[in-house]
Subunit: 628 residues, 2 copies
């Protein structure tokens, strides 16, 4: 690991080190992170960028008592290393190992499990108000990136910051980069600021802030105002924050541990909320990541020498198939436009952006406006394709309800990372989308089973003029011959496809990528002499009446989905059965069993392991049938 | 109506009038609105405030072609009057009558059905981008209030406004008042601005803007910058918007029709997004509303002479019972704190605010941060009670998922306006909450049947330390003796209560306020000799296993809920049955029928009519049983 790092078992061990030693320690931590991530995969560039900042924070504050709130939290590795978890990094993001995000179950130093953007200022405000309510004086620190601070809920928190009449420090970690290049007015403003001064300016500013902090501590309104004015350069972001009455300080150098320590000591005693604007460099200390922070935002295992990936190539991913297909469709139909929320590469839109820059909108980490822009575009007769991960689209739920579903607009939602997502764990699973979408009128929900199905679904959706959601997982597609072209008619609204004959007692009704597991299970059972039917549902909504009629033919339907059982596809099947029962039912009644995620959070592990834990791997499905 | 108003059948008829005549027309429109609302009830104060503004907009723009986007939309009455709907106001908010909000089904002048806050700038941006994409030159105007502009999605839109390289006018209608007094830093800033100048300043500013508009039209960056600087008074909101690179103009007088017309003519030709800040007075022209705009935000029928309400008094509402109960509980437990999003009176928190101002937080129309503040408070050991209407809580869905459910925090959600809401219609129904909440682990969902049940539920929830959602409608509570105290044991997690014996073939399992309809139906059927059981489910989650066992005793279960059938309580019952089936099931299989809202939007009407339309009134429930 490192000579110094070996001795750091808790943040208190930092106190014995000189500022120079802390600098050496920072290098050792960066090495530890780079090495660990090269083996396990994980977030790299952002973690390398905040090492110095993290050391300085832990040096000054006591986060057993004080509260440190992370935003997204993918940059918490140095924090984990300093808080007793140094030796657990071999298990980073692995089953039963260290989470890649803050996790209160791991350590009292982690306050909230996070993974979504924009929550650090809001929750820090809540905790500050709690301290105020209880009369306690713990410090509260929110660490937020320049990409997260433009999220709507961050702004709502800034606007309500005046509720806190006590200390609360917001550290704005400005690396001028979200996962993709940050978009939007605030980002442009910050980047103008960045270009407008030299490194020497940063140093001078630190000294000036330090000079004035005691005065600010005395709550001298006038002094504070005059002071921020003297700090102002030709352009500073102070205007933005000052108009919301939030004292703003900075920018300062986020790699100068000595200065940061002095600053944090000052801000610890300030009796009001304030923002400290800090510059850091993503990927600092590891050349390939420094050169290409976007590639090393989230990475699989790689070769430490050159940064080249060690992933084996296999089948294409659903994401890749989507990315290729949307370009093909857009070539034929110029009304197709694409929208993403800071996830161009993650959603496979890189090719689209390159080919159709004028038809492509990245709104930054702001999913709600992403949906609303799509609604406006659809009103104008265009065909917007909104590409947002399932879990993040939860931020747009109300917008999908009012601005899309209620208006009956033709917006296509391409929902990547649906189902379990593997190593990112609970904050990133997309296990709720069928539920929160199928309750909305005027919206169809499709889950394609493989590459061919995804292509067909996307063609159907963009041609339909309707609101259609297409959900698919973070996974490779099944082998092309698994379903077979004869079982792949064009998509028709609400029509399923029978893949294995249903003239038997038990039928697997599978929805989405999990069809491949159902097929494998059925074929295995057939070898054992147990015949089961398999239906590729295609649509979670509208539901095929053919599936319902299997029930009234007295069969056992086993629904299978990579989704929560609550409100899921199986639930939709049973609602349709209940509706038919009300109308008089059918010949005889069958039974229904629903396989999918239960009422609990599924921890980080390989996706295949998670499918097994959920009981929807081929083997587990087969077990259920055998038991009947 | 009025001499001039009688002749206005479309906005084109305005063109023939002089500015003085337009002023007279404004008075006639205000009279028409006041009279109509005094008969039908509706939104009053805000509508009176924007009459002059609306006339000027329609005078200048052609909103058959140009696009006018409303925010919330409750202030659209003058717009409806001018666009051919003058004579339909007797049916305002009534069944088959005029909607109280913009509605594209009514008129081509209404673009989006709205009712939630903060959507006008986002959707206007989408439409502006659509125009840009198609190369059309229609004007786009977003009208947004000072209360709505601080909503997160508004900010996300402002931050992304740079995507539009064309005309797009944002009219900031500043009446320094949301439904309740506007909170937050931006509001405070705007109110400081308001106090800092005289009426004469407003006039001078209008002239200055007009002088400079042609220059701005020529895209002279420098000129624009210099110009906004010369306009700046000691304090102006320009800083806030300028830091986001949005040209800001104003404030100007929103009742000076002549000036507004000149200004809009100028802004029609501006080839970039801009904000015009306009002052209006809520309740203008009707003294009782002018004096008490909060009372007349949304009102029932009233006497035009004095503004006194004409509502008959009857049983208390669920809202009132909640408001009293939360104060009682907070007196005994000082950890209880309350949070609302600009709906103090609407959610019944007026008494709480008065009694515990230090334990009360109003975050403005910003539901997401409301949930996050609660999460932070709960982490600090407090007991936050979040009071947000069901439909607006959809804005906090992702926050409830990550910041509450995933953390297992004890936040109590008191969800008013659950179920159908009567005359406000589709944008305001709360038909999705059981679904979007019960899919989340660590969260219980309760629907109390009447006043006594609500009191007991709230006591249970605040004592539980768990996340608990309590949903109840905009309605009066049922008579106290309907359930009877012997049928009202203390709440136990996941336990239902049998109200009418279930030793019969058919059992009504009712969830929430609709229990009273189920009881009435059962008693009516009993008189007819048809015996049916009634269970008060209490919990939609966790579900009582006793309800499930009725199925495996071979009974017909009819679930009844004031909620969408999709993902609702009935669906939860069937999921539990499927789980038990997987474990081997029971003696015999029964059947399930689910009554609730179908897959469509339910139009404005009286709530009792809507319950009937949904098939969950006592009479309709009885019909279903009779048919069996």
């Amino acid at each position: 690991m490192g000579i110094l790092l070996d001795k750091i078992n808790s943040p208190f061990d930092l106190r014995g080190l000189s500022v120079d030693d802390l600098g050496v320690l920072a290098e050792e931590i960066r090495d530890h992170i780079t090495h660990s991530v090269s083996v396990t995969g994980g977030h790299l560039a952002s973690n390398l960028g905040v090492v110095d900042l993290t050391i300085a924070l832990h040096y000054v504050f006591d986060f057993k008592r004080d509260k440190l709130l992370w935003d997204v939290g993918h940059q918490c590795y140095a924090h984990k290393i300093l808080t007793g978890r140094r030796d657990d990094f071999a298990g980073l993001r692995q089953q039963d190992g260290l989470s890649g995000f803050p996790n209160p179950e791991e350590s009292e130093y982690d306050i909230f499990s996070v993974g979504h953007a924009g929550t650090s200022i809001p929750t820090a405000l809540g905790m500050a108000l709690g301290g105020q309510q209880k009369g306690t004086d713990e410090s509260v620190v929110a660490l937020v990136g320049d990409a997260s601070i433009v999220n709507g809920v961050s702004f709502e928190a800034l606007n309500n910051l005046g509720l806190a009449k006590r200390q609360m420090l917001i550290v704005l970690n400005d690396n001028s980069m979200a996962i993709d290049v940050t978009e939007g007015a605030v980002a442009k403003f910050l980047s103008k600021v960045r270009l407008s001064h030299t490194y020497e300016d940063l140093r001078r500013r630190t000294d000036k802030i330090l000079e004035h902090l005691p005065v600010i501590g005395k709550k001298m309104e006038g002094a504070l105002h005059g002071f921020t004015r003297t700090l102002r350069m030709a352009i500073t972001p102070s205007r933005l924050f000052e108009s919301m009455n939030i004292p703003y300080f900075g920018p300062v150098d986020g790699h100068d541990i000595g200065s940061l320590i002095k600053l944090f000591k000052g801000f610890k005693d300030l009796d009001r909320p304030a923002i400290l604007h800090v510059y850091t460099r993503k990927g600092k200390g590891f050349l390939p990541a420094d050169d290409n922070p976007s590639k090393f935002h989230s990475t699989g295992p790689f070769d430490k020498k050159d940064g080249n990936g060690l992933m084996k190539s296999g089948n294409k991913t659903f994401t890749q198939v989507f990315g290729e297909t949307v370009v093909e469709l857009a070539e034929k139909d110029e009304r197709i436009v694409a929208i993403t929320a800071a996830m161009t590469d993650g959603t496979g839109l890189g090719g689209f952006r390159e080919k159709f820059p004028e038809r492509y909108y990245d709104v930054g980490i702001a999913e709600s406006i992403g949906v609303d822009i799509a609604a406006g575009l659809a009103k104008q007769g265009l065909k917007p394709v909104v590409c947002i991960y399932s879990t993040f689209l939860q931020r747009g739920f109300d917008q999908i309800f009012q601005e899309v579903s209620l208006q009956g607009l033709g917006v296509v939602f391409c929902i990547d990372r649906s189902g379990v997502v593997g190593n990112d764990g609970p904050t990133h699973h997309g296990l709720l989308d069928i539920g929160y979408l199928r309750c909305l009128p005027n919206l169809e929900v499709i889950a394609p089973a493989d590459a061919g199905e995804l292509k067909a679904a996307l063609a159907y959706a963009t041609a339909s003029g309707k609101a259609v959601a297409i959900r698919y997982p973070k996974d490779a597609v099944a082998d092309a011959d698994m379903i077979g072209d004869d079982k792949r008619p064009a998509f028709v609204s609400g029509k399923s496809v029978v893949l294995r004959d249903t003239d038997c007692d038990v039928v697997l009704a599978a929805c989405g990528c999990i069809v491949s597991e159902a097929l494998t299970a059925a074929d295995k059972l057939a070898e054992e002499g147990l015949k089961v039917g398999v239906v590729n549902a295609r649509f979670a909504k509208p539901l095929d009446a053919e599936i319902v009629s299997l029930f009234f033919a007295g069969k056992m339907i086993i629904t299978v989905e990579d989704h929560s059982v609550a409100c899921g596809f199986g639930s939709a099947v049973m609602e349709a059965i209940a509706a038919k029962t009300q109308q008089g039912g059918g010949e005889k009644n069958g039974k229904v069993i629903c396989l999918g995620a239960g009422d609990e959070f599924i921890k980080a592990a390989k996706r295949s392991v998670q499918l097994d834990m959920m009981g929807i791997s081929a083997e587990r499905i087969a077990e259920v049938v055998r038991k009947l």
